[in-house]
Structure formats: structure tokens, C-alpha cells
Amino acid sequence: MRFLLPVFLTLCAFAQQPTEQAKPAAAKPEAQPATPAAATEAAAAAAPAKADDKSASPAPSAESWITGYVDVGYRWVTDVRGNFQQYRSVVNLGEGPKLFGFDFTLQDPKKRLYDTLTLRGIGWGGDPYSTAFLGARKMKAYDIRFDYRNIAYFNAVPTYANPLQPGGFNQRTFDTRRRDASFELDLFPGSRFIPYVAYDRNSGHGRGIETWVLGASDQFPLPYGLSDRTESYRGGVRIELNRFHATLEQGGTRFSQDDSTNYTGPNAGDRTTPINGQTINLGSLYQSLRIRGTSKYSRILLTGRPANWLNVYGQFLYSEPKNDIDYTEIATGRLYDFTSTNFFPGLYNIAEGNAIQPHVSGNAGVEIRWKRLRVLESLTTDRQHDSAFGLFVPQVYQQFLTAPSSTTAPKQVIKYNQIETNVFFDLTSKLTIRGGHRYYRGDVSVLAGNLSQVGPSVAGETNRQVGLAGLTYRPSLKLSFNADYEGASSDRIYVLTSLNEYHKARARAKWQATGSLLFQANFRILDNQNPAPDIRFDFRSRDASASVFWTPAAAKRFSFTGEYDRSSMSSDIRYLDLPFLTPATSSYRDIAHTATTAMDIALPGIKGAKLTAGGSLFISRGSRPTRYYQPLGRLALPLHKNLSWNTEWQYYGFGEQFYLFEGFRTHIFMTGLRLSR
């Protein structure tokens, strides 16, 4: 029933008599050519000046006070063959009546309360992702934006928990929803002083399965409820003057998290095979984790142009989140302590703590232009200091003796500084080259592992010199080529897989063959090595893609978009395999082919009728060979001036060579009506 209200309201809106105006020439979103914006731009650029102007301004001479559409209908999901939990983890579309989407723009010709009001959304009626947006703007008075999203996050992938037990119980399953709402209000947009306020709310709630771990020996999977919420408030003023700009913002957050478990009964982790003549079972568990946090933060942003040849940039960011922790755990049953080889009837743990993390960031830079030369220079610094305190009071029911309380005060400090210079030179009117250098220096001090022999904390450093180069070549308006390269050498790094001795390159080419035909190709590579004898880390990833956009006759009859991508990743790193510290190499390979296509055909004989075919396929081989097909077909038939009938079919097919039990396939049909204005 939830979707009926917006439908009803929409129909009421349509029932109103609009002020007299003609129907806009280019109002329908579906009538827009499929050509991407950049392609349109390029086509426009390639055309003579007059044509350029026309293509860039599809303006109606008169406008309706309301334009937009609403899509309502019904979705059927055929029996999902294969693993239904996997289907929910990947696709998760459901059956039933749906409000597939709506998008309205209201324009008040008299500009009384607003100039423009926008309302749009997708996926209402129980879909795994629902969004809504409301925006209203009145020139020089206000600008309001409200955005809402509700995204389901279901995950019960069998192989994630245990690749060797296909029917196994997934101990890392959860079924949650995350909701995000944000509200922003700018006052007097377009003026020199723009005060603004904003409120953001991010929350998650749902259920999941977690493991209760007893020592290093026993584990008991348990259902638990999770709930977290972050509310963020901010306000400030933007001062936008001709010579400089400053934004001064002050904000704060409130954070809360409540995870709880209340479980009684037999458990999958119970040991029914006697050990020392007795079985092990968890009779009941009550667990509560309660976090409350606050934060304050400040932002100062600056830009300026002191002279025509000089732009300056700067920002100062500061945040200081704090959290207070309250944890209680009570377990009863027949539990076993492997260390003392004793059975005991239960335990409880209480923990309290707090953590604070002042975080300061700053960035300053200049841009200098002098004839054909341009220099970008920037300096960045970042400092995060975590400090925490924890008090832990464990008590074992065995003989009701309280174990000694313990306290801890871990600290973590992460700092880095970076300075980067880029010099651009226009070698010719069509060729610009770039060269530069980046120096990155970082220091960290983090809590050491339990078995660390070097003390309670361990220090790390990163020291990296990076050479930068690039070029942009535009021999004509129809052809452009861009390439950039980074090559680095590090003498200190944080972790084994950090960027060390690496080369990174990207190249892009774009060719507007005709006014309606655009080709594009991309290539990128990252090669990262750590040749230290013990490590021998060797990482390489490559990606090459090509795409074509064909929109003959401004896509009135036919348009085609096709993309193909081949990516490969290989990684080898040495490690010592437990329990005997056997030397081994962890190798990962992934060679993937991806293709996406969309083809729109205007059906002859029926004005406005359109057939769409396309979809995507993904095929990979290597460490986790996977196939994922999503072909799509859609038919839109106009029934009336403002009404069309849409039908869509989509197939989802998922399979993994090594984990056949995770495969699924299903057909999804949708049919519905689109009311447009």
C-alpha cells in the first residue's frame, strides 16, 4: 500500500489544470538520445558554430509548469534456480507491485515560493534500494536539498565463511538496511555571503550472525541484532567575493551503536563428543555493546586570485571524534578452559572504555600561469592521533573468583606530509606536456601484536619519491589523446603490500569519427614490486577498454552503445604457512572480460514506440572463475499522449567454476505504465 500514496498524489497533480502553455518540445527524458553527455559535447564541438549552438540548447519556447514522469507496475520473479541466498546477496529484487521511479520538475512561472522544485526517486515498494530527492530553489533566496536512500545489505555467501563446506553454516551472515538522509539549506545563493545549515543522518539496523569466541578454542555462532546511527549537524557561511572566497564551517556529530545478543538453547558450536568425559555447551549468552560518541569539526576553505596569473588554494580541516564504550557479557553452560583444562559453569565480562581521535588536515597550493607555462604546487599534511583507555573486568563463575581487572591505554599515531609539483608546458597549440614530482613522507606508531617482541607499540615509516609525467594531444577537435605516468621508488613502507617500487600509467584516446559516431579507448597499468628476498611481492594489474557510441540522426531511430573491457590482475607474495611455518606463495589471478551494450530502436509505424536491448556480461578466470550475465530487453509502447506501457525482461545468471553450489539464475519480468507530462 505504501506506493499507492505517491501514485494517488501524482494523479491528483495531473488532474489539476495547468496554466496555459504549450507542451515542451524536449521534455520527455526517454526522448533524449542515448549519447552520453561528453559525446554530445564532442559532437557539438565538431559541428559548425551554428549547429553547435543548436545542439547545446534544446530549449522549448514555452514550458509546462510541471514536467516529468512516474513509473508504476508489477514485477515477477520466476523461481530462482540454484542458491537463493546467493541470489539475495547479489540481486535481491523482489516480486510485487512497485513504484519503479518518478521524476518531476515543477517551475513556478510567477516565482512566488520557488523557481524550481524537483522531486524524484526510484525503487519504492519493497525494493532493496529506494531513493528520494526533493530540491527547491528560489534565486537569491534559498536552495533546499533533501536526499534519502534506503539500501538493503543482505549477505549470506556460503564460501565466505567456509569454502570447503558448501552446505555449511555461514557464520558471517547479515540482513541489514542502511538509511541515509541528508538535508541542506543555503540562504541567498548567488550572493556574496551565503549562510547554510545541513543535517545528515546515517543509520543501519538489522540482524546477523556473529561468533562468540571462547579463548582460542571454542566458537559459538549466535544471532545478534545491530543498530548504529550517526547524526551530523553543520552550519557555516560561504563568502564569495571577486578576489577570494572563504568558507567557514562548524559541525558536530552524534554517534550511537547498540549491538546485542540474547540467546538461550542448543548451539551449533556445542561439542557433543565428550572431552575428558564431558560435553561442552553454551547454555545462554547475553551480550550488550553500547557505544555513544560525539564529535566536533571545523573546516576553513580558501581560494583566491590575487593576480591574473596567480590562483591560491587552501584548506584546514579538523575533527575530534570521541566514543564511550560500555560492554557486558554473561555466558552460562558447560564451558571449558583449555589452558587450565578445567570445566566451568559460566563467566561474565564487563568492559568500559573511551577513545578519542583528533585529526588535523591541511592543504595549500598555488597555480601560476605565465604564457605557455603553468605550475601547480601543493602541500598536504595530515595528523591523526588515536588514544584510548579500556578497563576490563573478567569474572569466571568457577569458584566465583574474580580474575584481576586489567587496563589498557593503546595509542595510534598516523602522520604524513606530501609535496607535489606539476609543471605544464604548451609545446604547441595542440600538445601540452606535464612533468612533476611528488614526495610523500609518513610516520606511524601503532599497537603491536600480542606476540610482538618489540614492545607495546611498533613504528613504521613511508618514504617515497614519485616522478610524474603526462601529455595531452589534441590534433583536432575530433581527436584527443591523454596519457599520464607515475614512477616511484620507496625506501620505507608501512606494510608488505604498500606501494613500493611502482609504475603506474594511464592512456585515453577519444575519436569523434562523425557527428554521430564516437570511439574511445582506455588503458591503464599498475606494476608494484617489493623485491626484498623474504617478501618478493609482485603485483600487476592491467585494464584495457574500448567503447563506441553511435547515434545516427540524433538517435531518432536508432542508437547503440557498446563497451568492452579486459582486465587482469596478478599478485604473488611470500608467506610462511602455519602451523609449521612452511614457506609458501600466495598467488592471485583474475583475468576478466566485461561487455556492456545498449541498443535503442524506434519501432516503425508506431510513433514513440521503442525497443531496447542490451545488458552486460562478465566472465573471469583465475583464482575465482565467475560468470555473471544480465541481458535485458525492454519495450515501450505509447498508449496515449501522456501514457505509455513499458515491459521489461531481465535475466540474471551467476555461476562460479569452483563453487557450483553458489550459482543461481532467474528471469525477472516487469510491466507497468508510465505517466509523463
Partner: protein, 332 residues
Amino acid sequence: MFWPNSRHRQLLTSPLLAVLALATTATIAWGAQEKPGAPAQPAAAAETKPADTKPTFVGSTTCQGCHEDIFNAFQKNPHQVVETDKKRGFENNSCESCHGAGSKHAESMTAADIVNPSKQKPAATDKICLTCHLNQPTHVGRINSSHAKNQVSCTSCHAIHKNGPHGLVARKPADVNKQCATCHSDIWASFQKPYRHRLPEGAMSCVDCHNPHGTILARQLQTVQANEPGCINCHGDKRGPFVFEHAPVKMEGCQSCHQPHGSSNPRMLTRSQVRFVCLECHANLPTPTAPLNGTIGTVPPALHDLRSPRFQECTTCHQKVHGSYVNRDFFK
């Protein structure tokens, strides 16, 4: 009444406050001065046309004579404020604010006599746009932006003349994604993988995570709550601060374990099985003493028999790998 004692009155009238007020007023007055050369010499005009006789402004109504469709469209365009707002310095000359003074073009009617930003070098095009838009918060990270470094001009994404409330740039998530994918087709391919963020469905857009104008963070990642990475905007429970931090989360970022665009591995992990993600750092290799080529985290916290399936999925027990409030081993 509001200043009950003499001390407050003294403060109000103190020389220091007077100097501060004067300095603030002077700074704002200086900042509010018309830009050098504007409107008599806009950036666009100075950029390309050192003509024999300096062209002069002819006004937008003159442009309307030949370019009426654009002129009509412009009336609903956000840039229309340039036409009417005195403080911007181009009142009644909004066309020429970007295209430069148009008297020569009006006489000759040839395209060569007018500046067309979309046909200029990207840096020159950007300079025209930044004449007005530099002094806005959007561009504070521009200097770090790979778009700026790779000569991607403003007009690559923004359609300047386009009519309507959404005219200048795509706003709907699906449209934003389509626009970004035009150039970043390799990234868009990642979103066709089974485990991904919900971009193809239109529930999210590229600009939810990336700021195309540039930010203080690498990869043009959005910043939220002052200086946190954009991931925290939706995954607020991963922010902390935790009593026991997992250092790579803050040191190297989420992408040290996750492929944020999409992956064929569950949970968008970088490796096909969890233990191989963990073993890349917790490799049990002897730890060189930092900082001599030292790396941290190589020694594991316990000696598990990795041949046993129960120990192969590390996060079954070490659940709180993003950081734990109560357990050093991330059990809870």
C-alpha cells in the same frame, strides 16, 4: 543595558577592536573589488584575440539576433544571473562574459572572430570558467584533482548553455554515472561484477564517493565530517575511534582490502578467500626492525593451523577487523 559595566564598554571601544574592524572591512572591500580587467577585459577576450582594433562589448541582445535559440534557453539557465547581476560586472553582457567582446564577430559574422571556449585548450577554457567560479568552495581541491592535471576541462562535464533547472550538469544518479562512464569505461566495467556498490541500479552515483573537482584525499575521494573519507558517509559504524584500531584502515584506507568499484570476490575483497587477504600482511615473516625496510603487522597474533577449515576464514573469529571497542584480537 547590554553592556552593564564599564569594562565591556571599554572593550567595545578599544583601539584593538577598531583596528580589527577596519582590517576586516578593508579585506572584504578589497576582496569585493572587481576583478582586474573585468568587464572591460574578460579572460576569454584577452586569451585569444589580440586583434588590431580591440573589440568592444555589444550586449546580449545583439547576440540574440543570430543566436535566438540560445538566448531564449539562457533565460532559464542558472548562468542568467550574470546578465542581471551588477556585481558580477557583465550586466547585459552575459554572452560576452565567456565569449569575449563580440563587436568584431557581430560585424564579420565569422566564427574566427569570437571566442568559443569549447574549442580552446582545456586550460584556457578553465580559465574562463574560473574567472567567476574559482572563488567558490567547489574548487578548493582543484589543485589536487587529476582532472585538472589531465587537462579535463569544465566543459567536458558541464553543458553551459543547456536549459532548465538541471541544465549545467547531470544531477540524477543514473545520469551522473552515465556521464562519468563516458570516459571511465574501465571503471564502469567493474560495476558489472557481482559484488559491487549499487551504481548500475541508480541507487548511488560516482559523486557520492568522488568529488570530480578534487579534494584533499587521493583518488578525489569525497571528504565527510571535515576530513574523513567518503566511505564513512554510509559506513558510519566503521569510523571509530576504536579502543583497538586496525592500523591499515586508517593508514592505507579501505581499498587495502576492498575493491570499492566491484569484485568477483564476496564482500568486494581483493582476494578470493579471506585468509589470503589477511596473509598478505600477517605473513609470519620475520619482522625487520623498523624503519630499516621494516613493515608492520607481519607477525600473527596466534599460531593457527591453516590447514583446518575452521581457521581459514579469519573473520569468523576476528570479526571486528575494522577496529574493536573491547577486544585486542578483534573478536568482538
